[in-house]
């Protein structure tokens, strides 16, 4: 507040761009792609973008929770892969109903979160390194479980028979609009309320801000860090199941590509409206930005395999702005 007054002309440009830069960029990108392509601004295209970003957003929301307590869950992509593989296999291999299948995945993801939470709170190892290790472990478990192959309806089992089960149509609906978009919005809303309106969210931010001071203020730091990792894994699991519902198969490592998008979305989110902290709304805006960028570039015929260059650059920019801001 003070800085803005001191800078003479009344506006501190860095602060202004920091707060509104992401939103302005989104508007500019929409204008640009709208002019540069014929069908960017159609209803189908816009719904397409939301559908495209929904899985990224759900996974990124979980990641945001781990960032809020000063952690960093790198294993969310692998957890999503695992959830994807397990839910499809429950249907196709084991002919289970939706309730059982989803329950199994939820229990499994909570277990992943418990393991991550235990490891990061029990050892003095940086969260990012610890979850880098579990990322590979979980990815390996998912691969081993699927024997390194894609699971799909009517696949041929090792015994030579066709897989017995089928994927319920209701489950498939979860991967189509409007449900996929509704699930995403509900996830954003829940975490937004948790972080900004509840005692627990306040505690999580305090832990992320200064863990030692939080501990000495009587906040059960380990418990909240633990819970954050369980929730991160749970949201990654939901993301993986929605992915399964959308593609109706379990590809090898299907969740892995979502990791970088999720990280980028969450870090872009730091700056949205000047919050300076990981936050649910910001993460959503970050995902929208990435979604617009990807879809727009695809329409401009930029090949999919070049997309990581753009996304990586956007992530580097978001990180640069966040860390620059912290020092100033």
């Amino acid at each position: 507040m003070k800085a803005a007054k001191v800078s003479g002309k009344g506006i501190n440009w860095f602060d202004f761009l920091y707060k509104y830069g992401t939103l302005i960029t989104i508007v500019l990108l929409i204008a640009f792609f709208g002019l540069a392509t014929d069908n960017f601004l159609t209803k189908e295209s816009i719904i397409g973008i939301f559908r495209y970003i929904s899985i990224t957003t759900i996974i990124a929301i979980g990641l945001t929770l781990s960032l809020a307590v000063g952690g960093f869950d790198l294993s969310v992509g692998s957890t999503a892969s695992l959830a994807n593989a397990v839910v499809i296999s429950m249907f196709v291999w084991h002919s289970q109903n939706m309730f059982v299948s989803i329950l199994v995945v939820v229990v499994l993801c909570v277990l992943v979160g418990v393991i991550n939470g235990f490891l990061v709170t029990s050892f003095k190892i940086q969260d990012m390194l610890m979850t880098l290790a579990t990322m590979f472990v979980i990815q390996g478990v998912a691969l081993t479980y699927t024997r390194g192959a894609t699971i799909s309806k009517n696949m041929i089992m090792p015994s030579g028979d066709y897989a017995p089960g089928s994927i319920p149509a209701v489950f498939g609906q979860l991967g189509k609009q409007p449900w996929i978009i509704i699930i995403m919005l509900v996830a954003v809303l829940i975490v937004h309320l948790l972080l900004t309106k509840t005692k627990h969210g306040r505690y999580m931010y305090m832990i992320g801000g200064n863990a030692e001071a939080a501990k000495l203020s009587g906040i059960p730091v380990k418990k909240y860090r633990f819970i954050a990792y369980v929730l991160a894994a749970l949201f990654a699991g939901i993301g993986g199941m929605v992915l399964a519902a959308r593609v109706m198969t379990a590809e090898v490592n299907a969740g892995a590509p979502y990791l970088m998008d999720a990280v980028a979305a969450a870090f872009i989110g730091y700056s949205v409206l000047g919050s300076g902290k990981p936050n649910a709304f910001g993460t959503f805006v970050g995902a929208v930005l990435i979604g617009i960028l990807s879809n727009g570039l695809i329409m401009l015929s930029v090949p999919y395999y070049a997309m990581d260059i753009v996304k990586g650059a956007v992530l580097a920019l978001a990180l640069g702005i966040t860390y620059y801001k912290r020092k100033h």
């Binding site: 005692k199 801000g209 000495l216 203020s217 009587g218 059960p220």
Partner: protein
């Protein structure tokens, strides 16, 4: 180094100021090589600053440093080293490279300076030279051992050995014995004796009077950045030294209070952490202010952290209202009604990036919520504003960032959050450190008021006048143990200082 060649080091009229503090005013210091000289003073007296000037850590001091009458223009560490003045700082780990070998660490300065322009290092030669110096300081280790595997005492010897690789006429040791055991200390003293024989002048900073009398020839005492006295050490006794360290101080303004100690509230039995605290027992009554006196490094902070569950203890029991309680983390201690205001305010006591309101309610958020979950901004604001006016916190409003407030006001916030939490036992660790006079007075009356309300207060401080001014009773700590229990009305600052510096009742 030629043993017979005695040189005289003089520091004349040294003054240095930092923003807001005149750290040294016209201090004189002189000594001969081949002698050992004790430099002593209470916390903040300027001992370390004076030695840092000598070691070239500052370039904005006034005054002169001479060697046998010849001016030494020391403005940077390299200058001091070139003139043969070497320093071993207290924080040994900051000066060592943990993942390199002992030999490489010892020869570090040589590697940097002697190999300018060369690229190829003869490791054989380095290890051989290092081994010779290690023998001379009594360090019996393989030269290839990594420094991170060494004990503190060994690391210290590595640093002393490093000083000896260069021209070393004067060696400054800043509180070298603080982390050492008795046998390690006597090994160090033997080395100091030998270095003296070889003509090195040793400047020895320590809070421990007995060892100064054991090892030093002369003594210089500083107080509040000024030179008090220099004399042969045996012309004084420990009590006189303690007196010179204290001098006559301006009376701080302490609140009038009469002791109204009630029944026993908080007891700790034989507390130890296997490191800095060795078998401390203490008790506090309701409405009583009990001091933990002692100099920096006596183990006060460590004890406070253990009592609050913020650091693990290896033995000991804690009882509250005669019931044994156990807790392993601060949030469990808080549930028993124990609160602590930590020493390192900015790092541990407050959230500088957050608002005054958030900081004040964080220790007890539940009453400011609906259904124990949903934050109520209105309730929070009300509580924060009440506390702001109660403590006289100078802030535009409750949404101001704490980073923008002064140290005294930040400390009031660190205390205020626990007043809102309404604990029964309050532990204060150096609550007036870095706080201006006006805020100090406010903090004292706050603490007195807590006792008035029947709360138990533990007050740790290295300021002796605070012990006299605010407490009912105190435990004087030295080397992680309670050296003496004193009743405030029957003691003096001199007596506290006597026990704080290792004096024995005799």
């Amino acid at each position: 180094m030629k043993p017979n060649e005695k040189v005289k080091l003089e520091m004349n009229d040294i003054s240095i100021a930092f923003p807001g503090v005149q750290a040294l005013s016209s201090v004189n210091f002189q000594m001969m090589s081949g002698t050992s000289h004790a430099l002593i003073g209470a916390n903040g007296a300027g001992k370390s600053t004076l030695m840092k000037v000598l070691a070239g850590a500052y370039d904005h001091y006034t005054g002169s440093i001479t060697l046998d009458g010849k001016q030494l223009p020391i403005r940077k560490p390299k200058d001091a080293k070139d003139y043969g003045i070497q320093i071993v700082y207290q924080e040994v780990d900051m000066l060592l490279i943990p993942n390199l070998s002992v030999a490489e660490n010892i020869m570090l300065e040589k590697l940097v300076h002697d190999y300018k322009g060369k690229s190829i290092v003869s490791w054989k030669k380095i290890h051989k030279e290092a081994a010779e110096i290690m023998t001379s300081v009594g360090l019996e280790l393989p030269t290839g051992k990594l420094v991170q595997e060494l004990t503190l005492a060994e690391k210290q010897l590595v640093l002393i050995a490093r000083s000896l690789t260069m021209d070393c006429k004067f060696l400054i040791l800043d509180e070298p014995t603080a982390p050492l055991s008795d046998s390690e200390t006597s090994r160090l003293f033997a080395l100091i004796e030998r270095l003296k024989q070889e003509g090195v002048g040793i400047i020895f900073i320590s809070h421990r009077l007995p060892e100064l009398f054991q090892i030093c020839d002369d003594i210089t005492i500083l107080r509040d950045g000024q030179h008090v006295i220099s004399a042969p050490i045996h012309s004084m006794d420990q009590a006189q030294v303690a007196q010179h360290m204290l001098g006559t101080q301006l009376e701080a303004q302490f609140p009038e209070r009469s002791s109204n100690a009630g029944e026993l509230a908080f007891e700790a039995d034989n507390i130890a952490d296997g490191d800095k605290v060795h078998g401390v027992s203490m008790h506090v009554r309701k409405g009583e202010i009990v001091g933990i006196a002692g100099l920096v490094g006596a183990g006060k902070t460590e004890l406070c952290r253990i009592l609050f569950g913020a650091a693990p203890k290896t033995q000991g029991d804690i009882r509250l209202d005669s019931k044994r309680i156990s807790y392993k983390a601060p949030h469990q201690a808080v549930a028993h009604g124990i609160a602590m205001i930590p020493e390192e305010r900015r790092r541990e006591g407050i959230f500088v990036e957050d608002t005054v309101g958030v900081n004040l309610t964080i220790a007890n958020l539940t009453p400011h919520t609906r259904a124990k979950t949903w934050l109520s901004r209105a309730k929070e604001r009300l509580a924060a504003q009440w506390m702001i006016s109660k403590l006289g916190i100078k802030t535009p409003n409750d949404t101001t960032r704490v980073a923008n407030l002064s140290g005294g006001n930040q400390q009031k916030i660190a205390i205020g959050k626990w007043l809102l939490a309404d604990a029964e036992v309050y532990i204060f660790d150096e609550p007036t450190k870095g706080v201006d006079v006006g805020a100090k007075r406010d903090i004292y009356s706050l603490i007195a008021e807590l006792a008035e309300q029947g709360k138990s207060v533990i007050f740790a401080s290295s300021e002796m006048d605070e012990m006299i001014g605010i407490t009912d009773r105190m435990y004087v700590m030295y080397d992680g143990k309670v050296a003496k229990e004193l009743v405030t009305a029957q003691t003096s600052e001199e007596e506290i200082m006597f026990y704080s510096t290792g004096g024995q009742a005799g």
